[in-house]
């Protein structure tokens, strides 16, 4: 009895699937009348459908923009600009040379804050991770510092460095330091013991071992961690610029609001922040495709 049911269940499932498939085909026919299916027609249709898949996100954004514009047009008393107003705002910023200046200022701070954190936190994290005792001693401290938002450091940043680039760089540094430290620590833990043993077996000196075994073994994880951390840095720079400096995209947003409720410039700033963040992530992600790193992102 049980046996026969076991035999039947996949068949049942199959027939259900066939029915669903037929149903889908019928309903598709009802919507799109079927053309004579020649080979050419098939490839054309395939090409068209793949293009459609790729255009889908763009189309979705376009629909949202249209909805936004319509909503704004229907309520002209609102301060919020429509998408076209934002485009004009970006044009305004470009004409005054502010956009490029502010983007460069923000990227400058992110670069320095992030690089300083990477240069200090990654070697430190690798070392702490390698020596169990060091980790046992330092881990509680790291875990206490880690949940403190980088924004909580703003008063101290200004106390130590005054209002200026240094304070903003310090805040980004603090925001990046702990995620990178933890990434490096766990990357060392995850190195397969086999690699360490092979390295020992071939009689590598310590510098050789670090350069030829440890570094390549942790690189894929460090790249992933850096990618996430760079995202954090880009979040922090906006907040830092709202308080600690008077240039950059964060400053643009707060300044546009304070100086006459220019919400078109506020949203223009947000759009630029989003676009640059997206491009930064894209650049970091391209590192994951390098051949000698790629093994770290797939099974085997």
């Amino acid at each position: 009895m049980i046996l026969s049911r076991n035999v039947e269940s996949p068949r049942e499932r199959r027939s259900l699937r066939r029915r669903l498939h037929l149903w889908a085909r019928e309903s598709a026919k009802a919507i799109v009348p079927e053309h004579k299916s020649t080979e050419l027609g098939k490839t054309n249709r395939w090409r068209a459908s793949s293009l459609l898949v790729r255009l889908r996100p763009v189309a979705f954004i376009a629909v949202l923009l249209v909805v936004w514009q319509i909503a704004v047009n229907r309520h002209p008393e609102q301060l919020l600009p429509g998408p076209w107003g934002v485009v004009l705002g970006i044009g305004d910023l470009l004409r005054h040379g502010l956009l490029v200046k502010y983007v460069v200022a923000s990227l400058f701070r992110v670069t320095w804050g992030f690089l300083l954190a990477a240069v200090i936190a990654i070697p430190l994290g690798l070392t702490i991770g390698w020596y169990r005792r060091a980790e046992m001693a330092l881990n509680p401290l790291v875990q206490i510092f880690r949940p403190i938002s980088p924004l909580a450091w703003i008063p101290i940043a200004i106390l130590w460095y005054g209002v200026g680039d240094l304070a903003a760089i310090f805040l980004i540094f603090v925001g990046c330091f702990f995620p990178l430290l933890l990434t490096a620590m766990s990357a060392v833990h995850n190195v397969a013991p086999v690699y360490v043993n092979v390295g020992r077996n071939f009689g590598l000196s310590t510098p050789d071992f670090i350069y030829r075994v440890l570094y390549p073994a942790v690189a894929p994880q460090l790249i992933t961690g850096s990618r996430i951390t760079l995202g954090i840095a880009w979040l922090v720079v906006v907040a830092a610029e709202m308080i600690a400096v008077n240039s950059g995209l964060g400053f643009l947003i707060i300044d546009a609001r304070n100086a006459g409720n220019r919400y078109d410039l506020v949203i223009a700033g947000m759009v630029v922040i989003g676009a640059i963040g997206f491009l930064l992530d894209l650049a970091m992600r391209s590192l994951e495709r390098v051949k000698s790193f790629r093994w770290g992102y797939s099974e085997n």
């Binding site: 397969a192 043993n197 092979v198 009689g203 790629r294 085997n300």
Partner: protein, 260 residues
């Protein structure tokens, strides 16, 4: 007949294991894994270590390789006490032994950084040929099959010209057909290069097919239960009466190991 091993003269002993014992500390309890292991291995000999799973075969291999220091006793190679891993003796692992961030060439050349570029390239080319990986020099391990990866690991080991090769169930993760091919390849390489080989396996056929002598370990704590000399010349006919006799003999020994 099994104890014929101990009659080797001191002069041609390559590796000597003397009274080796190993006790691990696990959750505050001490677990004895190896107990009074004594073994002499001649230069160029092919030894298989067999025993029930988890008995400590790999531990013994790691002690011989210098990766673990024994709790008692010692391992000497050419009358020199083993104190750590050394490129003169290379361990081949069951899985994940090749570096996934290096190409086939990079892996084989891993231990050759002290050679000049031309010498290194010659050596790499030689071993690429030997393990039949030509055409894959620039491939990454992720593009190789399991058998090819193990051949690559053997090639990387041989490239540094070691006296001894330790193999820790090197074909254990491969399918049975690939495993047969790999045995043939290993024998071919062994016959041309004549290194001393210590080979850990749980596969009876593998042991009888490959080894000059098979060392049978008992279940934990592992002791040497028996040493069988397989005096059939290579290549061995695996359906010959003598082969089957040795095989049955070994099976009986292992069976005992399970029932004791």
């Amino acid at each position: 007949m099994g104890t014929a091993a101990s009659t080797t003269t001191a002069s041609d002993v390559k590796l000597r294991v003397e009274h080796v014992g190993m006790v691990f500390d696990r959750d505050g309890k001490s677990v004895s894994v190896l107990e009074d292991i004594n073994l002499d291995v001649r230069d160029g000999e092919f030894i298989c270590l067999v025993g029930p799973s988890g008995c400590g075969k790999s531990t013994l291999l790691n002690v011989m390789g210098g990766f673990l220091s024994p709790t008692s006793g010692s391992v000497t190679i050419d009358r020199e006490v083993v104190r750590g891993p050394d490129p003169r003796r290379i361990l081949v692992f069951q899985e994940r032994g090749v570096f996934p961030w290096l190409t086939v060439e990079g892996n084989i050349g891993f231990g050759l950084s002290k050679l000049s570029a031309t010498e290194r390239n010659e050596r790499i080319a030689h071993y690429v040929q030997m393990v039949r990986l030509h055409g894959f020099e620039h491939s990454y391990p992720s593009d190789l099959s399991g058998g090819m990866k193990q051949r690559l690991q053997v090639a990387r080991a041989l490239a540094v010209n070691p006296d001894i090769l330790y193999l820790d169930e090197p074909f254990g993760a491969l399918d049975s057909i690939t495993r047969l091919i790999m045995r043939e390849e290993l024998l071919r390489i062994w016959q041309t290069e004549r290194r001393t080989i210590i080979f850990v396996t749980h596969d009876i056929d593998e042991a009888v097919q490959l080894a000059d002598r098979v060392v049978v370990l008992s279940s934990r704590p592992a002791k040497i239960q028996d040493v069988l000399t397989i005096d059939i010349p290579q290549p061995r006919n695996i359906s010959s009466a003598r082969y089957l006799e040795h095989r049955d003999d070994l099976l009986k020994k292992i069976g005992l190991a399970y029932t004791v």
